[in-house]
Subunit: 192 residues, 2 copies
């Protein structure tokens, strides 16, 4: 998974982050390999890490998004979020988003449950076909209202015989109040 | 500072978080006191922690907010954010916010640089007088456009002879594009 799969890191920095005892355990279990003072994740180490993928537009952030991403993160160890590109949104919704994609990506990556946010490809279903290949998630999480996306991803997974679980996130209890659509209505009222 | 000042925590949980070596050092330096297996922060321990206070409305979050809070956090160890209550906003701006205060507070607390977000009191200047007493910050950070707030806080600090630094945060490079005012304009265009 992106930075997690590739690259190596200085042993002393990692040691400060996770403690030298934990690092020693991971080394002797073979989850990490050492070259000089650089540590890298081994294939068996990667296998222990459960990567969750979620995605969306995230134009005007609200606590429904935060709740969904927190729930998504609870299904694994690392949460990667695909943020729809401006082109994808214009194609899907026939309108420009309020915030440009790179700003939306940065803000989503600023949320506590999110380890990494990437921009989607300008392709059907936010380019999940490419994203699945790149991120190699163990699980893909869908919002309660992302039925079309869920269907396309299910097709990709079936066609390519990928070993990826799918999970549906709960509808936020306050969702009626908080869906992006009702946010747009309330924005429009507030701006009258 | 709120949870940091009061209360004690199980030693083994803290040990997992920061490593037993660090915990041992903090204990022998007198920054922590132990009762049974519970550890608490001592006054000299609290003195080592630099608490930063920032505040605002945070109605529609954008990366200008994230940049400002990240900069605020860089001035200390713990960042507490005061989120203006609905009543304060109505009083100041003569309009309701788009999102209710408890939602805004939760979302701000969901941002990586923020350790704790609290609601402001329904008082002049978001109730900074009460907040300063409660949070006991070492430093208060102000957005480049929070001149009125800065003035009232300076008065409180001078009158009550508090030892609190004040710092002005930089204007986000993209701020012209991203200020809440221009966001409102762009929202209004997008909703036409």
């Amino acid at each position: 998974m992106l930075g997690l799969r590739r690259g190596s890191f200085p042993k002393d920095e990692l040691s400060k982050l996770v403690g030298s005892a934990e690092l020693g355990e991971a080394l002797s279990a073979g989850y990490l390999t050492q070259q000089g003072d650089q540590l890298s994740l081994s294939p068996s180490g990667r296998a222990k890490i459960r990567v969750v993928l979620a995605g969306g537009v995230y134009d005007v952030l609200h606590i429904g998004h935060l709740a969904a991403l927190t729930e998504a993160k609870s299904h694994g160890d690392v949460l990667v979020v695909v943020v729809a590109s401006d082109t994808t949104i214009e194609m899907l919704k026939g309108r420009k988003p309020i915030f440009p994609d790179e700003d939306r990506r940065k803000l989503v990556e600023g949320l506590k449950p999110v380890d990494k946010a990437i921009l989607g490809y300008e392709d059907v279903g936010m380019g999940y076909e490419e994203v699945l290949t790149e991120v190699k998630p163990d699980l893909v999480a869908f919002g309660y209202d992302q039925e079309n996306l869920e269907r396309s991803v299910r097709e990709i997974i079936t066609m390519r015989k990928l070993k990826i679980e799918m999970v549906k996130l709960s509808k936020f209890e306050n969702e009626k109040f908080l869906s992006s659509t009702s946010v747009r209505q309330r924005l429009s009222e507030a701006l009258r």
